[in-house]
């Protein structure tokens, strides 16, 4: 649902000179299928073995009881993510400025709660607006 919602704001995001990327531990063969199915126009990047998510300090290990439950649903992370330890990133959305500094961060351990994309758009507008104001003053 979040991917479709992000797709819904992509043209406005690009109009602000910004880009969206989605990082997922899923292997490329799965991102390719999903990307096509949802007609996404931003990139889905495979964060193999959660290397980047680790650097953002978002990684946790599923408890044993949940691992077994996921396996019973057919969500085998060892197969889908090459992730035999059953680690996952908590959902997070960041807005990073051109200098590489995080200017907005929405991190929630409850995976059923997500920030509205309209809010991300507002953050980007503030960011690009404030940058324009700075360059005028300079």
């Amino acid at each position: 649902m979040e991917l479709e919602a992000l797709q819904g704001i992509i043209s406005e995001v690009r109009a602000l000179g910004a880009q969206i990327v989605v990082l997922t531990p899923e292997l490329e063969r799965y991102t390719r299928a999903l990307h096509k199915k949802l007609n996404l126009t931003f990139d889905m990047l495979t964060d193999l073995h959660l290397k980047t998510a680790e650097q953002f300090r978002l990684v946790f290990t599923l408890p044993d009881y949940l691992r077994d439950l996921y396996k019973s649903f057919g969500n085998a992370l060892d197969r889908l993510h090459d992730e035999p330890e059953y680690r996952l990133p908590i959902p997070a959305r960041y807005v990073v400025d051109k200098q590489g500094i995080i200017r907005a961060a929405d991190v929630n351990a409850d995976y059923t709660i997500r920030l509205e994309p309209s809010e991300t758009l507002r953050q980007l507008r503030m960011l690009t607006g404030s940058l324009a104001a700075l360059s005028l003053r300079a």
Binding site: V21, L23, D43, A109
Partner: protein, 88 residues
């Protein structure tokens, strides 16, 4: 399009009801709630990078097996980075 969170809430309600199409078992729902509560109290949200931190750079393969680097993207403008656990 309805707000993202209201659509998520709708899904959650349907899943928790135990009714079709998900037919979630009560025990399974309990386990998922317990795991989310434990994760919340683990302090992981506080450990995660936050506003003002320098975003780690990355170069990763996209869905078409093309390498994409965050440095290249940032040269063009701001970047929204969304972490997605998977679509399963």
């Amino acid at each position: 399009m309805a707000r993202l969170q209201s659509r998520l809430d709708e899904f959650k309600k349907a899943f928790k009801s135990g009714a079709p199409p998900y037919n979630a078992e009560h025990e399974a729902i309990e386990k998922m709630h317990r795991a989310t509560a434990e994760l919340k109290s683990s302090g992981i949200e506080q450990q995660a990078l936050k506003i003002g931190d320098c975003a780690p750079r990355f170069t990763l393969f996209n869905q078409d097996h093309v390498q994409v680097s965050s440095s290249d993207l940032l040269r063009q403008g701001p970047l929204v980075i969304s972490f997605f656990r998977g679509h399963w």
